[in-house]
Symmetry: C2
Subunit: 378 residues, 2 copies
């Protein structure tokens, strides 16, 4: 006997099954180690009880260590995209002037969100594949008096480029004194050195599915003291994303609303694993694997999309092999070899592909993926 849904779709007769594991080499979601995966199946608890308080304490302590900050790190439901919105609605009022340094698709989206919330946005754009030039940024900023904020991407996932954050923040502090500095560190934090307090950054955010070896669903954001103070006068309306409301709750170790409990379990385990490895060792591992990926890709005759001087240690963008269509190549790798790369975004669709090497990645993961790629190159 079969039944149908109101829209005519037949009802399921069996439960969905687990996906076939693949060598997932996209820049997020990243593969989740078994210890972290297992925590996703742990039993539910009261999110207002003592067990969850202990998790909040551990997770926020460990996040401070990786953000290299003494200030507040808050965890919200959502992806990295939520970071743009949380930063903007808590710091600014409609009509506030901000500059957005864009070097790719995610910088463009950061500017789009700022525009959507009624800020007066000036984009400081650089060619995709290049990093932002600090001297040029300085010139732009000196021509933009009265800026309330400067928004930038640390690591541009769409092009595989890492901005020189120390040089950029130095020039921002000089050329736009008083402007809040907001850093999208979605695909860098936990992998690439980002000393928030030493660089005097106001807001920094990331996502659980990137360097943190967790499934997607949590967005972690730190507010320095100027950022928190800005929330007192920022006039954009907010409730779910209200950082003061969240801080007040987390200061009592209870989230402001029901948190994604199982994802918190997983972040707790992942951070403990990362603490065991240590910040410096993790950064060095990503640097070594980034180097290896770039060398290996070039050794098979492919060329890199990004300026080598600023190539990212978390994601490598590779130009499509000449004389070979990218789409069937990617499909063969996925379907026949179980190797999944990411495509290009926006005008780079079909022109580049991207290799994610962040999180719990080890060199053999990349070797296996690139062996498969090499076999399929004509």
């Amino acid at each position: 006997m079969s039944t149908t849904l109101p829209n005519g779709t037949p009802a399921q007769t069996e439960l969905p099954h687990a996906p076939t594991p693949v060598n997932l080499r996209i820049p997020g979601p990243t593969p989740v180690p078994p210890e972290v995966a297992a925590a996703g199946a742990w039993p539910m608890i009261n999110h207002r009880g003592p067990e969850f308080e202990a998790i909040v304490t551990r997770v926020t302590d460990n996040l401070r260590y990786f953000f290299q900050t003494e200030h507040d790190v808050l965890v919200f439901p959502g992806s990295g995209s939520a970071g743009w919105e949380v930063a903007i609605v808590n710091l600014f009022s409609p009509g506030d002037a901000v500059a957005v340094i864009t070097i790719g698709n995610f910088g463009e989206r950061f500017a789009l969100v700022a525009n959507t919330f009624g800020l007066k946005v000036t984009k400081i754009p650089f060619e995709w594949g290049q990093a932002a030039d600090p001297a040029a940024v300085g010139e732009w900023l000196r021509a933009l008096p009265g800026l309330r904020g400067v928004l930038l991407t640390h690591n541009e996932t769409s092009t595989g480029v890492t901005n020189d954050l120390p040089a950029l923040t130095q020039v921002i502090h000089q050329a736009a004194p008083g402007a809040l500095v907001v850093v999208d560190a979605v695909s860098s934090l936990g992998c690439i050195d980002l000393p928030m307090d030493a660089l005097d950054l106001d807001v920094v955010f990331t996502g659980s599915q990137k360097g943190w070896r967790c499934p997607p669903g949590l967005m972690m954001i730190a507010f320095g003291p100027r950022g928190l103070a800005a929330a007192d006068s920022a006039k954009l309306p907010r409730f779910f994303w209200d950082v003061k409301r969240a801080k007040k709750a987390f200061d009592k170790l209870a989230p402001p609303y029901t948190p994604p409990v199982s994802l918190w379990y997983q972040l707790d385990v992942a951070l403990a694993m990362m603490r065991q490895e240590g910040r410096a060792a993790i950064i060095a591992r990503h640097a070594a694997i980034g180097d290896y990926t770039r060398q290996r890709v070039q050794s098979m005759g492919l060329t890199l999309f990004a300026d080598p001087a600023h190539a990212s240690n978390t994601v490598t963008a590779v130009n499509a092999p000449s004389g070979q269509e990218l789409k069937p190549l990617m499909k063969a790798l996925r379907v026949e070899d179980g190797v999944v790369f990411a495509g290009g975004q926006d005008h780079l669709e079909g022109k580049i592909f991207r290799i994610g090497h962040l999180g719990a990645v080890q060199q053999p993961d990349i070797t296996a993926a690139l062996d498969a790629l090499e076999r399929r190159l004509k």
Copy 2:
């Protein structure tokens, strides 16, 4: 050798371990069945690939069956609280007049969110423990011309009261024609009958950790055609919560930003299990367990907080036993018996406790919890 974090907290030397399973009888998070729990540990996939497209198709089809709607059901990261915000920012503009029918703490918070976003809010309040009186609602609404929306709670989790939704929606459609009807069904949908289209509701939302036997972290929201049309003119700024942006993406089976993949796995499995049981059987099971809970509680000499004529089939609020402090009683149950109830909220703290009986609950779960309670009553 031990290391310390910048803030002096000692670094962990071992990984966090799973919490001890308890008989979790709070109104969410609810216990997750083994089949659903296991899916939380499944391997990651590309959220823009064919496997995730199949999940989106199944999940949205099955949600339409349970929402009893032919229209769009969208899944966002977040808890039920996100539902208030998604509904409000997509339907309204600052200064729009709305009425909020409040019968408890969650109705009050719905009104608070509407206020926060600059709507002109009139509360239609009823005593906590009572349902909204349709005749009184009609009188209020006829005295409030020009309403853009009427916001209400189907099942008030703080008091254990279920509103008579058919009677209320009938009176709303008559007394406030043209007003958008928005229903917080966070703790009712999937448990208590809620025929969205038959009642001509515009927006209805719920959360994964309630009747859906999943961990928290997903908010599911349906928009009828008037609701979607309202989003075309609503002027509140939105990006992450933008329903048109989300619909455009989900219509192509790709989420607008990285979704909580593992929670989607779990919702997919949970919905398949719920389809196997069937909507009518699930509603009947909740009705029977609600009845049983109320009878059993009264049989041990306790009294119910809610008006028996409108007592909820998903959560039962019980007055504190006379002559016995609630806090040590709840603690003994939790620590010694492994039975977790929820306390009272706001002015009901210390005066009531609440028993959750929603989701994958079966009568023996409640029997065991109430046996433990009875043993500890003086």
